[in-house]
Structure formats: C-alpha cells, structure tokens
Point group: C2
Chain length 228, copies 2
C-alpha cells in the first residue's frame, strides 16, 4: 500500500470540444498555442487534471478562465491513450464536449494561449496533437445523440422558433429534413412547449416561440436520419 504512489503514472489531461451555434452555423472553440510544441497551431482547449479535481471540475476551471462561463453542458466523450500522442511525454487525454450559446458569453484570452477563436466545423484548420481525431469523435457523438436526446436547446436561446430549431438540426446533421414532419415529431415527443408568444419585428408571418420542456420525463423521440 505504501508503494501505491511510487509507480510512475502517465499524465492526465482533459481536452474539450466546445460547440457553439451562431448565424446558422455550428462552430468549435479553438486556441492558438503560444508555446512549443505546436507553437502557433490550433488546439482544443484543455489542461491537466489536478489531484483534487474531477474531470468536470477541470473542464469548468479551464473554460471559466478563458470564457468566463459557468453552468456548462458537459459530456464525457472518450479517453485517448496513444503512447505518442503528445511529444512531451505520456499523456492520457479524457475528451469532453460542451454545448454553449455563444451569445451568452464573452471569450477572454487566457494565459496559455495568445488567441481564442470560433471556427465553423466545415472550415476547421489543421489541429495540433491528435485533436483532429477528438474533434471527429465529438461531431459523430453529437450527430448521433441529437437524434434521440434533447441536446439542441443548449445551443439556442431560451425562446426559439420552430424554424430555428429545425435549421439547427439540419446544420448539425448536415442534411435536409422536411420541416413539417420534423415539427410534428418533435412536438409529439413533448421536447418543447409552445409559449404562445410570437416573435415580432420579422419580415413575414410572426412565428411562435417555443421553450424547452425541462420536465420531460419519458423520451420517446427518435429521428430516423440516414447517416451517409
């Protein structure tokens, strides 16, 4: 038992794929490294796990420094263990993804990075380390999970129109969905509630505003989208 901590351990870090949705585009938050290795390349935000912190605490600490944001939707993705994934030594990375509404937060550059920026998922730059792989896993998870779980609401304002929700789904899934069938399906599943309020100041007919049904007990929603 006394020998318990004498083994040399791999280092342990978290890396995060932070998704944001704005202007009908899905984006990811990247940092530009200001030190070697991979100086001036783009990376996912991340950092080492301290002895006293859980993964989520580590994630929250890192993102609160850089974005000033709290109460994040966080979900563990996968743990990456290739022995050569970090040139500095053996580092295990536990990947998380997060969904945020960029309109609610202001990005603040942190001490480790000289630049923080949103990139559209369709226009991603080259990523350092094995972060391309982590990003790919996150997109895949997001696309499959949104088919049966109410994820999208984290990315939208508290009140949103059916059109906005519909476009979000089309954007994330990168496919066309019939708006009428989508509307019926998502209403039947009780994911959302029509507030009765109308959005004003729009060009055409004023759409209803919906809110997420936080009291949803049973989830019987399932979109059948063919993944290509």
């Amino acid at each position: 038992m006394s020998a318990f901590h004498t083994y040399k351990n791999p280092s342990l870090a978290v890396d995060m794929v932070v998704f944001g949705y704005q202007d009908n585009k899905l984006s990811v938050l990247l940092l530009n490294r200001n030190e070697e290795p991979f100086k001036n390349e783009w990376t996912l935000p991340g950092g080492f796990v301290r002895m006293e912190d859980t993964f989520e605490e580590t994630c929250t600490n890192i993102l609160s420094k850089k974005l000033g944001l709290t109460k994040l939707y966080l979900e563990q993705l996968y743990s990456f263990d290739e022995t050569d994934r970090d040139p500095r030594g053996r580092v295990i990375s536990v990947a998380y993804y997060s969904l945020i509404n960029p309109a609610k937060f202001k990005i603040v550059a942190g001490s480790m990075a000289n630049d923080v920026k949103w990139f559209e998922v369709k226009k991603m730059p080259k990523l350092a380390f094995d972060h391309k792989k982590i990003f790919a896993a996150a997109i895949k998870r997001l696309q499959s999970k949104i088919l049966y779980f109410p994820l999208g609401f984290e990315l939208l304002d508290d009140l949103f129109t059916m059109s906005e929700l519909h476009q979000l789904y089309e954007c994330i899934l990168d496919t066309e969905i019939d708006r009428r069938n989508f509307s019926r399906k998502i209403l039947d599943a009780d994911f959302i509630i029509n507030t009765g309020i109308k959005r004003e100041g729009v060009k055409n007919r004023q759409p209803d505003l919906f809110k997420f049904n936080k009291k949803l007990k049973q989830n019987n929603f399932h979109l059948n989208i063919q993944q290509q």
Copy 2:
C-alpha cells in the same frame, strides 16, 4: 517543459467488465480480493496503466494472466473520476468491457486474487470500490449497442442456431422477442449466413447452423425494443 512531469498526477487504472455467456445465462467475471482494502470482497478485474502501455494493452496483459486469453473483443466504456472512489488515493479508472466465449478459455487464478469466478448478471454479489456503477454502465451499453451492432457473435461459438442467437438477445435485453420477427430481421440485415449445415443429435428437428457474416459492409439492422 522541464516541469512537465513534476506535477503530481492521479493514478491511472483500467477496470474491465468481462461478459461471458453459458447455459443461456449472461455472466460476468469477478475476482475476490486477497488484500486490503475490500479484502475478501468481489471486484472487477483491473490494474494500473504502465507508462509504455495503451489501455488495450493493459487490459490484454491483465486478462491473459488470469484467463490465458487473447484476441479479445474490447471496447472502452467510460472513465470514472470521483475523487474518493479508491480509499488508497486518487485513482482514475478507465472502464472497458469485453465479450468472450467462456467455452474457449480456462480461467487461471492470478497473483493478486485468491479466487476468480463467473457470476450471473442477475445474481451479482456486492462489489467493492465503485464497481457496481461500472458494471451498471456496462450492462446498459451492451443492451443498447446490441440493438444495432453485431456484438452477440463474440459470445457464441463460430456456428450457432437461430434459437441460440435469439435466446442470447432475449437474455441480454431481458425481454421477450418474437422468434419469427427476430429471425427475419436479423437475416434481412445480413448479419449472419446460413451454412446449410444442420445440428445433429438434438431431440427435435435439426436446426440450421449459422455463422457471423464477417464481410458485412453496411449495417442497416435496428431492433426496436422498448427499454423499461
């Protein structure tokens, strides 16, 4: 960079939920601990990750010592990070699950444990550490993944009858499935191939023997089972 390994890191371990199927029952392999903490209690097999090993290598090393088995189906489940999950100190556990055919292997007691035993998933003993949680996650993953992915074949012999496969699904999902609808669905999906061979020496009509279709390219299988 020189300070890279001076931070104190949490220890890193893997824990495995090894599923086996025999006598129409789904079982899990457990070890009886021969040292404190949790002496004489049952645990999932596991061990610490060495600097030079990947997770899968760690899993394989541990299981080959205790079971003499190779070429395992292994899938990463989740990483458990509660700060108090191990009384000896901070230990992160990356959980994997494995599917094996017990008939193919012989269990060998290892150096760390004084007993190795299969337990039916419906008759599990109290588990040490947070292993009950890990086990629950594994069952849940197995139940949801088998609905759309060809997992069951890892648990069966190379040649099996439709009945055997059907019973395996009913056992894992803990529900009744109409055998005729099941048969049609799984055949339509091209998961399995009828070898034309019949099983002999049975009491009633000789059933066809099937094999897994290893050349399966596109997976359009999906069982619709209501999870209760």
